[in-house]
Symmetry: C2
Subunit: 472 residues, 2 copies
């Protein structure tokens, strides 16, 4: 494609995206596609000769669009907010259009240094001290894997340089709460710990990890000759946005030599609000923290920031230095290839840098406060309505609810919950994600799409009541 063709089709695509965002409200929130339907609509073999670009853009409407669940819809309340602010979309476009690559600082110095600046700005916004240094990763899943790899290596005095994990005679153990994200157990298994060495610690009545139970589990493992290695605390769990008490967990981790990793993937964004920072009190004792600006904050996916207090461990675990990557500047610069798994890196910092600058810290704070107020309002409505219950402490933007009409309990209540959520999702008028907590299903209403205003929250509450109450 020539630059002039790019100009023409690029303008068309920009307009198409603007139209999409402006008009997404008119679309069904959840895709109604049947499995295999999109594949069946497409050629089984690649085209031998070029296709007209108009036809390709046309397929965005005819093939792609009907197969989407619209995360930017104002009545999307599923999973978590995955906000790609339009300014951030342009930051990402600049990155892709430039097509430069980070392999070494030298392979495009701006890519590295703007990442240092943007992650440094975000650090200040989150209220983290200046001992923390950040690096952009793709996701929290990858970041938590990196944290557990570093924990494993620090605990074994960097066995990777010798006989590896198998050379360590005593089993290493990882701790997290029963409410921690599935990516934590996955990371532990990938890092080689084994499921038998992952302890899921019970939670209190607010779904937060019980520090006393953690301490007890650690003592039991030590007594049995195992080596406690890492603990993952969550600020804002996936199911209920519960907050593990880092200020109690930190000293336990320190006393027993554990790596403390804090998964603040979702709720980390809220730390730009000083009134929320109590939620991760004690954070300065952690070894690593992961925050996803690509969730609520508004950076276009994928943009996760992984902060560490002592990058030496990270660099020692991740570094490689083959001849074809060495440059004269290496001693004076950061080579972010040594801060994560991939060697090649996009210029991801642009989308974070654009977002912060175009919104300003106050602009971002105002939007998050809007969402918190909407969540409190919604929880108030639910709590004041007969037969309805709010099941979590609404500290953040997720409200966990259940319709509990008289006489319905146990499996029958579960069936009712799943039925009305499913019916609502199928209606195309909103999207909620159900979750199972302590063996019972509930509906999560996750508020915080860019476009979601109070009127949308009011509308979804009406829709929810209709869907649930007419089904009893």
């Amino acid at each position: 494609m020539t630059p002039d063709e790019f100009r023409r089709y690029g303008h068309q695509l920009i307009d198409w995206i603007a139209d999409y965002r402006a008009g997404v409200e008119a679309r069904p929130v959840m895709a109604r596609t049947h499995p295999g339907e999109i594949k069946a609509a497409l050629p089984t073999a690649p085209p031998d000769t070029p296709e007209p670009f108009e036809a390709i853009l046309g397929d965005l409407d005819s093939v792609v669009m009907p197969g989407l669940t619209h995360w930017s819809h104002p009545r999307f309340f599923g999973y978590f907010p995955c906000n790609g602010e339009l300014s951030s979309v342009l930051g990402d476009l600049a990155s892709t259009g430039l097509g430069v690559l980070g392999l070494a600082w030298q392979s495009s110095p701006a890519l590295t240094e703007i990442e240092e600046v943007a992650t440094g700005w975000l650090r200040q916004m989150l209220g983290l001290g200046d001992a923390w240094q950040g690096v952009i990763q793709d996701t929290a899943s990858t970041s938590s894997l990196i944290a557990l790899l570093c924990a494993r290596e620090r605990r074994t005095n960097y066995a990777l340089a010798r006989g590896g994990l198998q050379a360590e005679p005593r089993p290493l153990v990882v701790y997290a709460s029963t409410q921690s994200h599935s990516s934590i157990e996955k990371a532990a298994l990938l890092a080689g710990f084994g499921r038998e060495n992952v302890r899921l610690i019970p939670h209190d009545d607010r779904f937060a990890m019980r520090p006393a139970a953690l301490a007890e589990a650690i003592r039991d493992d030590e007594a049995a000759g195992r080596v406690p290695c890492a603990v993952v605390a969550t600020t804002g769990t996936t199911s209920t946005t519960a907050v593990d008490p880092i200020d109690a967990i930190g000293p336990i981790a320190e006393r027993h030599g554990l790596w403390l990793h804090v998964d603040a993937a979702m709720a980390g964004s809220a730390m730009i609000l000083p009134e929320c920072r109590w939620m991760w009190a004690g954070i300065e004792r952690a070894d690593s923290v992961v925050v996803n600006p690509h969730k609520w904050l508004g950076a276009a996916f994928d943009c996760t920031v992984y902060y560490v207090r002592a990058p030496e461990a990270l660099v020692r675990v991740m570094s490689t230095n083959p001849s074809y990557l060495q440059t004269a500047a290496d001693r004076e610069v950061k080579n972010y290839r040594d801060w994560g798994i991939p060697l090649g890196r996009r210029f991801r910092a642009l989308k974070l840098w654009f977002l912060i600058r175009e919104q300003g810290v106050q602009g971002l704070q105002a939007r998050l406060r809007r969402d918190l107020a909407n969540a409190r309002w919604f929880a108030g409505q639910v709590g004041a309505t007969p037969d309805w219950t709010v099941l979590n402490q609404v500290l953040l933007q997720t409200v966990c609810i259940r319709h509990e009409p008289a006489g319905l309990t146990g499996d029958a209540l579960d069936a009712h919950t799943r039925r009305w959520v499913e019916a609502l999702n199928r209606s195309g008028r909103t999207c909620l994600t159900p979750a199972e907590v302590d063996g019972r299903w509930l509906a999560r209403v996750s508020i915080g799409s860019l476009a979601t205003e109070r009127a949308d929250v009011e509308a979804v509450w009406t829709l929810i009541r209709e869907a649930a109450e007419q089904r009893t």
Copy 2:
């Protein structure tokens, strides 16, 4: 940013990218930035209030541009071609603008099914049989880590579900050639194998792995009570684009129960040319293959395709199934979250789909053949010039050369090589990457940027001669 503002600034940015690509030739190829220079030019704290978007776009010229090494420059011959065809840039923009996320098939069915289609098309283009299934990953580094994790788990009968790697009494061993990419050893160390259990097998006079030496190393490990686990063969090594003999390595791997992973990150793209497919003869015996469409082929970074013949092992190692991710469609669809490390996934397939359709298979083949012919021409020129040597077998688009004037040997020759390459890079007129092979430095001339024509190769040859010959 409102959709209307996005329209306005988006058009500006599209034009800016078009101008950049059309005019990149006039810029110095390599950045001349000093360490810290860009950081020093930027505010140390984030802006409290919004900045005008004009100022942000303006900084692309004033702050970002001077800090870039221009990978799309027609005289960029460094590292490897990292081509972001402009059609693919638009595919990526569509993805970012839509802002939908793959967590489950249901969370946007088109994201999953177009990935199945696009990776299926590429599979056919590469001449791989229909037993292979593909998934898009970020990079080859990550893909090779995934391969070694799967190898580790298959060999231990999925110890991750029990006591993990530590529960296995006999050390597992990984094999690769001395010329394999640094990411292979890194992957082995991250997967827990330990450096003592990584065997780097010697190469023959064409820098390819010696199968007899591999077989011998495996036998030695077995005799010592260790368990051979995986072998990584490379199609097109980084330093010299050497080709490991998969047809000889495959039967050895099979006989001893090793996982065979093929790293075709760079040269995989050449397999769309039937005349190149002899290079990975025997590929159908491999367990996994990684190919980077974001290199020579032209997909915007990041777009790596990881192919496996038996996805069961991959899914068994990577799968998680928490309540909040379960959907009614799960039994009938692919959930790509179980095919890699991250849970959240971009709609990366669009950039590959757009590329293949806009270029057509023949268009892509024609460009790669142009580059191969340029490499052969260049090697011919170098080989025919007194005091100049071509050091590799030029099967692909990389030509490894050295200026060896009479009387210069050993360290003095190395110093000469590094000096003239460095001088050339500093001149801003081209960019080459030096590499150390068997203890001696050489200059790699990696041909294949989208914009690189014969005239550019002629020009770089003149520049190289000037730089080297005037320094002796």
